[in-house]
């Protein structure tokens, strides 16, 4: 399937993960040297990741960057934060933990509702990530997703890793409380979602426990207007009074000489 943003073949994270999962047994059978080479190419050699939380990482252009933290998903598969979850992806990211009965339930309801509204673009290209704040095991993540009716839904991943790693991811997405106690508290964990269209460096955020229609609108707005999937259910009542400019031709973007 073509990437709706670039028009080139698109390989979403899940597909890549699945492919790697399928390849791994072959690699084991084929020899350790090949595995090592593959692992080296995929892992920390090019990894600018800090091993602990407490740092925000910026690119030289002043935007935030995302280290290649190693995580696991609900099925126990290894996932690299930057390479698999961020790079080239259009996604929504929330935070929670498996046994949460409060905020997470509302987040699951709202995000679940939003995913149904944009079902045709779920998984490809839009992906939903939830990062565990409590070092949940994949088994616990899987059980939680099943309890909330999210397991097996296209495009959904529940990810876990060391608490400091997840804290760094949370901070990288801008979800930090100035009160250290509140920041570390599971009971008051963030209800915000971070939305990103990484190829065009487009970022926004809104509450993850609000009206699913609003969440879905924010996600769809990540796409450039001319390449935006149409969902009549998301239209505003009464329109906005705008009309087409006669004879308008699309304008190329200006590029500053660097």
């Amino acid at each position: 399937m073509n990437d709706p943003i670039h028009g080139r073949p698109h390989l979403d994270a899940a597909a890549r993960l699945d492919r790697r999962g399928a390849l791994l047994p072959l690699l084991f059978a084929g020899g350790a040297a090949l595995l090592g080479g593959c692992a080296t190419a995929r892992r920390p050699a090019a990894d600018p990741a800090p091993t602990a939380g407490g740092e925000t990482v910026f690119c030289p252009d002043g935007t935030r960057t995302f280290p290649n933290y190693l995580l696991r998903d609900q099925d126990g598969r290894e996932v690299l934060f930057h390479d698999d979850l961020v790079r080239g992806q259009v996604f929504a990211a929330t935070f929670g933990y498996a046994s949460c009965k409060g905020v997470c339930t509302r987040i699951a309801d709202s995000m679940g509702g939003a995913s149904e509204l944009i079902a045709p673009i779920m998984a490809n290209p839009v992906r939903f990530y939830t990062f565990s704040l409590a070092e949940d095991s994949p088994t616990e993540l899987r059980a939680s997703m099943k309890a909330r009716g999210l397991y097996g839904r296209p495009g959904w991943s529940y990810l876990t890793g060391p608490a400091e790693t997840v804290r760094s991811i949370r901070w990288a997405f801008g979800f930090a409380d100035p009160d250290e106690e509140a920041d570390a508290s599971l009971a008051f964990h963030t209800g915000m979602a971070r939305f990103g269209n990484h190829p065009i460096d487009k970022w926004s955020s809104c509450p993850a426990m609000g009206n699913p229609v609003n969440i879905a609108r924010v996600i769809v707005a990540l796409f450039p207007p001319s390449r935006r999937p149409a969902f009549p259910a998301l239209d505003f009542d009464g329109g906005n009074g705008a009309r087409p400019i006669p004879g308008f031709r699309q304008v190329p973007a200006l590029v500053a000489m660097r």
Partner: protein, 546 residues
């Protein structure tokens, strides 16, 4: 007093940006995970003149918009039939805020940052067509979808810039700006307004990228002519610069903003910070630390804290007093002698500075911000020492010429309107935070949910408050209101004894406001004007109904 060039205190004492390689910079967080991005390159102050936007130019009388406007799309269009028509493009452009910085791609109103200045008069209704001719894809921060709000405009809902009324490239929207007094009362007249983008979820990004400009309103009282023969005219210093045409211009709009640039000098924005965005470069009218030559006479300065998150307390560097004549662009009943004005984000202050009072030996003077703010959540309570004040603009005072100054600042400016509409109810609005989310009354903004139904022509008391460690400049659309009490103390004098559209709450503050909405119907927002908070749902919808 001569001050050293502006220094970012955080750059020296706070942020410890460490380059760990060619590809990433690790900035240690302070007491939370949000910290400053890398510092902007050094720049030498006072290398460039203060720039001014050109005036918006209406269509000539023989020209017509194509296609024609649709009167039925607007409330009371025929009653306030436009006499001027504007056709304005929102397009990309390049701007270089300082000779030692690069030219960055920005979003502009009619190719200008700040946007072209609208010069309007009461009794002269306007129709402005805003064409979105942006590219489909804006790489990085900012959206190619827009909606324009005239801040403090008394406009019908469909022309007010409701955040959900955004429109994309290749489309236009007509805005009917009737330029009428609220309830027909000249005491409701406004002067210094500004217009900016209001696209839901992207207001901070779009305004940061350039979408803001001045919108000035004049009437028989504040006529914009210091030689006005009308005995009712105030004859305040007049003459608004029109681009490079600054001769005999003594009415000076100044939008004060802060921005950050990457190591190559390009505009950058940390869109991930939920608390707000602070820059380490201070701009006036889009230029980093410019200078402005002044004559030894009176000048009117229209000061605007352009945000997105920085508060200001503005002084002149020699500590001299000046006349504070308008709050939020609304003339005060009487001028105030003061040595500073405090501005929350989006607040305005009109002041008159009399440079003829300076000693002949004074050749330089600075407009400075002494409010200490290294945290986008709020400013500190204490002022910076003079030697650490942020220098914004250098005045170069020319020698006396003997040319008379016909302008004046009368003791009576614009009387306050009566608060004679009976109050029908009281509402509470608590600006707060819950689970890391910005809330009002514990709720998140929902475009489709009406949070208050207001009957047109009635009056209510709105009690707004905040808690925690955040400051919120709360903005109400469509009509200014009056502060009755501030932290339970009746307001009977001072800068708050005025008509206001931004109500700046510091942590723990509470205000009681006398609220009226007249003339227009429809949906309007009230929101925090730290636009990062606004974009993250710190907004409510109120509908004005018959």
């Amino acid at each position: 007093m001569s001050l050293s060039p502006s220094i970012s205190r955080r750059r020296f004492f706070g942020g410890t940006a460490l380059t760990t390689g060619a590809f990433a910079i690790h900035a240690h967080a302070g007491d939370n995970g949000n910290t400053d991005p890398p510092a902007s390159p050094d720049t030498t102050p006072w290398l460039q003149r203060l720039p001014f936007a050109k005036h918006a130019v209406p269509l000539p009388p023989w020209a017509a918009l194509d296609p024609l406007p649709i009167p039925a799309a607007h409330q009371r269009y025929d009653e306030f039939a436009p006499v001027k028509f504007y056709n304005m493009n929102v397009c990309e452009g390049l701007t270089r805020p300082h000779p030692q910085l690069a030219s960055s791609v920005v979003t502009t109103y009619q190719g200008s940052v700040p946007g072209v200045t609208f010069m309007c008069r009461y009794g002269e209704p306007v129709l402005c067509r805003i064409n979105n001719v942006l590219p489909d894809v804006i790489q990085g921060f900012g959206s190619s979808e827009i909606i324009t709000h005239v801040h403090n405009g008394h406009h019908a809902s469909e022309s007010d810039g409701w955040p959900g009324d955004w429109f994309g490239p290749g489309t236009f929207k007509d805005h009917h700006w009737p330029n009428i007094y609220a309830a027909g009362d000249y005491r409701e007249g406004k002067g210094t307004l500004w217009y900016h983008d209001h696209r839901m979820d992207y207001t901070a990004q779009n305004t940061y990228r350039g979408l803001a400009g001045f919108f000035l309103l004049f009437d028989f009282l504040d006529s914009g002519d210091e030689n006005d023969p009308n005995p009712d005219a105030l004859r305040l210093p007049s003459g608004v610069p029109d681009g490079d045409r600054i001769e005999r211009c003594y009415d000076i709009p100044l939008v004060i903003t802060d921005r950050r640039y990457d190591r190559n000098g390009y505009l950058t924005m940390d869109v991930m910070n939920m608390d707000g965005v602070l820059g380490d470069k201070h701009l006036v009218n889009g230029a980093v630390q410019p200078f402005f030559e002044v004559e030894r006479r009176k000048y009117r300065f229209r000061l605007l804290a352009g945000g997105p998150s920085r508060f200001q307390q503005l002084f002149l560097s020699n500590g001299m007093t000046f006349k504070h004549i308008a709050n939020d662009g609304n003339l005060l009943p009487r001028p105030r002698d003061t040595d500073s004005v405090y501005l929350g984000v989006a607040e305005r202050a009109d002041i008159v500075v009399d440079f003829s009072q300076l000693p002949a030996s004074t050749r330089e003077l600075y407009l400075v911000n002494r409010l200490d703010q290294t945290d986008p959540r709020k400013p500190e309570d204490e002022l910076l020492p003079w030697e650490e004040a942020i220098q914004l603009l250098k005045f170069i005072v020319k020698p006396a010429t003997g040319v008379p100054d016909p302008s004046r600042v009368p003791e009576i400016l614009r009387p306050l309107p009566d608060m004679d509409t009976p109050v029908v109810r009281t509402r509470e609005w608590r600006f707060d935070r819950s689970n890391g989310m910005w809330t009002v009354n514990g709720r998140l903004f929902d475009h489709d949910r009406v949070d208050a139904v207001f009957r047109r022509g009635t009056a209510e008391i709105w009690r707004i408050s905040t808690s925690g460690g955040w400051a919120h400049p709360v903005h109400m659309h469509v009509e200014e209101q009056r502060v009755l009490t501030y932290n339970r103390v009746p307001v009977t004098s001072g800068p708050l004894f005025a008509r206001k559209d931004v109500f700046t709450l510091k942590p723990g503050d509470e205000m009681e406001i006398y609220v009226r909405f007249r003339d227009w119907l429809g949906r309007y927002p009230m929101h925090c004007h730290n636009t990062v908070h606004e974009d993250h749902a710190m907004m409510v919808r109120f509908d004005v109904v018959p």
